[in-house]
């Protein structure tokens, strides 16, 4: 992707040393806040002609609220919260109720997303680099839903089932059952750029290899960077489908669906030209394969990983394939969004002897103020 974006453990260690760290520890305040207010929501599709709700310059940091409406009834949005003894006065719950009441269906089934955000200077052929600086769950619950005909065992689910999972926000853990607790790893199921105008309105249900969308990739949480090939001027960045935690596969059809506050930095990269979305974490490069057939998704993930290693590490085809076989993990991203996903996790630690690279941007101990 770009040889100057590697994590160098030695250099990072120096940055983290006690003497240096206090300089980094000052909280960072986002440049913009984009609330989950009815006017900021777009329901169900990605489209080049959706008017942007925010315009930012490249490099700006945006705090965005994202919502999930699972379990909330159309006719009486407050009932759900009363039933579960959740405080109606909580701003996040006020947002959910207002959205449920005011945002009208568009006729396309899909996610309730926040955006799009217009990034100045982004032109088709550029890359939009989205740094996920922080993700925090903002409601004390999550929902997990399954139904016959959906998920990874559609033939075996006997009836619809909706599970309410309390979240202990102080301890960052989902209280799944009396003796089962799941540490939260919040992330956004959906992040995308707009498709070109000729593709019309693309439903947000399936992920798309080029514009992104409903990846449901659990590794795209705090610390991840996602690279989108820009299709239209301004990129038009969409974000939604907040998850509190999910396993690789998302096998019942849903994650722990919740509401998150996400802090992203949006950077226009003129030097980077991609045909498909790529990502990285502090420790891994991530390459994706997407297809309605999982075997084909796997094939694409392998071929794309080989191309990635050729392009970014200068390996020849055989060494790239060999490294994929003996040192790269292929994971099932999700099998439930019509188009299925496989992603490879390529450890950065293999390449640390390259001294020409810059450290990765992520600092585990960085803190953020709210801009709301």
């Amino acid at each position: 992707m770009h040889r100057h974006r590697f994590l160098l453990p030695v250099r990072m260690a120096a940055l983290y040393s006690a003497a240096v760290f206090p300089l980094l520890a000052a909280p960072i305040k986002p440049d913009f806040f984009l609330g989950a207010r009815p006017a900021n929501m777009i329901w169900g599709y990605f489209w080049a002609e959706t008017p942007p709700v925010l315009t930012v310059q490249s490099g700006k940091i945006v705090e965005v609220d994202t919502t999930d409406l699972t379990g909330i009834a159309d006719e009486d949005p407050e009932a759900f919260f009363k039933e579960h003894s959740l405080p109606l006065e909580l701003p996040a719950i006020q947002d959910l109720i207002a959205i449920k009441r005011q945002v009208k269906p568009t006729g396309i089934r899909g996610h309730m997303m926040t955006g799009p955000i217009f990034v100045e200077g982004a032109q088709p052929g550029d890359t939009l680099e989205v740094r996920v600086l922080d993700v925090k769950t903002r409601v004390p619950y999550a929902m997990n839903r399954m139904r016959p005909g959906g998920g990874g065992i559609p033939d075996l689910v006997p009836r619809p089932y909706l599970k309410f999972v309390p979240i202990d926000l102080e301890h960052n853990v989902a209280l799944f059952a009396e003796k089962v607790r799941i540490p939260l790893r919040p992330f956004q199921g959906v992040m995308a750029v707009a498709p070109t105008a000729d593709r019309g309105k693309l439903p947000s249900g399936p992920p798309y290899a080029d514009i992104g969308g409903n990846f449901d990739n659990k590794d795209l949480g705090k610390g991840a960077t996602v690279y989108f090939p820009v299709q239209v001027p301004g990129a038009l960045f969409y974000i939604g489908d907040p998850h509190a935690v999910q396993g690789d596969g998302e096998v019942d059809g849903g994650a722990a669906e919740t509401s998150n506050t996400v802090i992203v930095q949006l950077i226009v990269r003129k030097d980077l030209h991609l045909t498909a979305v790529r990502a990285e974490t502090p420790t891994h490069y991530m390459v994706m394969g997407i297809d309605v057939e999982l075997s084909t998704a796997m094939h694409k993930a392998i071929a794309n990983s080989v191309d990635f290693l050729k392009e970014t590490q200068g390996l020849d085809f055989f060494n790239a394939l060999s490294l994929c076989s003996l040192g790269v993990d292929f994971r099932v991203t999700e099998v439930v969004d019509v188009s299925k996903g496989i992603h490879s996790m390529i450890p950065k630690s293999y390449f640390t002897s390259d001294k020409s690279v810059e450290p990765y941007w992520y600092h585990a101990d960085a803190t953020y103020e709210t801009a709301r």
């Binding site: 999550a142 990874g152 065992i153 089962v180 596969g249 019942d252 796997m298 055989f318 076989s325 790269v328």
Partner: protein
């Protein structure tokens, strides 16, 4: 896999369990060493009728040398080593050459099977618990290959390749290139029990959803336990296909193929009745799914995860499926052995049981 983990029938275990915590003895002295004997190696298949090479009691430990002969030619096995500047004087190399010569023309695969081991008392319906006590590389080198028409991108690979890597066994790494070292995590690609007699000779290339086999599951390293459903009296355990490291997927068609010495402890579990293989690591339960179609393999893996969570944690269907979605990771085991595999990694840390079952392995 339900608690109590130990049936109490095993003296060895009773001794281990006598302290406040279960602790491994300072060094496990295997009860048996199974040497490589080309005359007695089954040639590439599992069969109920292959005579056992060893009979052991439940609870006993066996040290086994398993060979990777990939890259060696029948007519001139020495050439591989001279081509790759590997000394012909290494005892492991001498062994590989002699076994390759003895097997030449016998139709054995490049990963000859060790076994079968007969475990006394094992009956159909029981479970064979195989504790992977230790695995070490037997040679300081390994090989990775790919071929057109094989592996995860069979249509894209233009010609055969074979990549030989030297190991630093002190650091337990493979030298992939001048700048890239791969950490070694040795495991066995193949572990299986015999099929029933009426199934005849089952080829060892694909994994099987009941007897195991060429699962190529990278998590079956030292410290992991494999549970296999016994099909015939004595179980008839096979082990082969030593790997030094592999990624989930094994996408080129092979791992770092490299000979290992593996130390296994066997228990007959009368209290456990499984339909297919399961595994357990110090940190995870592992459920598996196998099928020629990767979508179907995921389907099987989900169903087997739900079964495992019902058996081990008493969860109902909905909670088990829900937990599978929000807290369990599905990984691609391999896509290159005709029958493909997906496995579920179920973190033990999710469960806050009052009395968690102690696990035998300690670092």
């Amino acid at each position: 896999m339900p608690t109590p983990r130990f049936t109490g029938a095993f003296l060895t275990l009773a001794v281990w369990a006598s302290g406040p915590l279960i602790e491994l003895p300072a060094a496990v002295k295997p009860d048996y060493h199974l040497d490589i004997d080309p005359e007695r190696m089954p040639a590439g298949y599992y069969s109920a009728e292959t005579p056992p090479v060893l009979k052991i009691a439940s609870g006993q430990t066996v040290e086994i040398d398993t060979l990777a002969l990939m890259g060696l030619s029948d007519d001139n096995p020495e050439k591989f080593f001279t081509d790759n500047t590997i000394s012909l004087d290494l005892p492991s190399v001498k062994k590989m050459i002699s076994v390759k010569k003895a097997l030449a023309g016998k139709g054995a695969s490049s990963a000859p099977l060790a076994g079968p081991i007969y475990v006394e008392g094992a009956q159909p319906g029981d479970t064979l618990e195989v504790r992977i006590v230790d695995i070490k590389s037997y040679t300081p080198f390994g090989i990775n290959v790919g071929n057109p028409g094989k592996g995860g991108i069979p249509d894209v690979i233009p010609r055969p390749y074979a990549k030989v890597m030297k190991f630093d066994l002190q650091k337990n790494t493979a030298k992939f290139s001048d700048t890239i070292d791969i950490p070694l995590r040795q495991f066995q690609g193949i572990m299986a029990v015999s099929p029933t007699k009426e199934r005849g000779k089952l080829p060892s290339r694909p994994p099987y959803p009941d007897i195991g086999g060429n699962m190529d599951n990278k998590h079956l390293v030292k410290g992991t336990t494999l549970f296999l459903p016994v099909q015939i009296e004595g179980a008839g355990f096979y082990v082969a296909d030593p790997h030094a490291a592999q990624g989930n997927g094994e996408v080129s068609q092979s791992a770092i193929e490299s000979s290992n010495t593996v130390t296994l402890q066997f228990f007959v579990r009368k209290d456990l009745h499984l339909k297919g293989p399961r595994a357990e690591t110090p940190t995870h339960y592992i459920a598996m799914g196998f099928d020629e179609d990767l979508d179907a393999a995921v389907h099987h893996a989900i169903v087997n995860t739900i079964e495992l969570l019902k058996d081990v944690k008493g969860m109902n269907f909905f909670d088990a499926l829900s937990l599978s979605s929000v807290g369990v990771d599905y990984e691609v085991t391999e896509v290159v052995d005709v029958t493909k595999g997906v496995h579920a990694m179920i973190p033990k840390s999710l469960f806050h049981d009052d009395k968690p079952a102690p696990y035998w392995y300690k670092e």
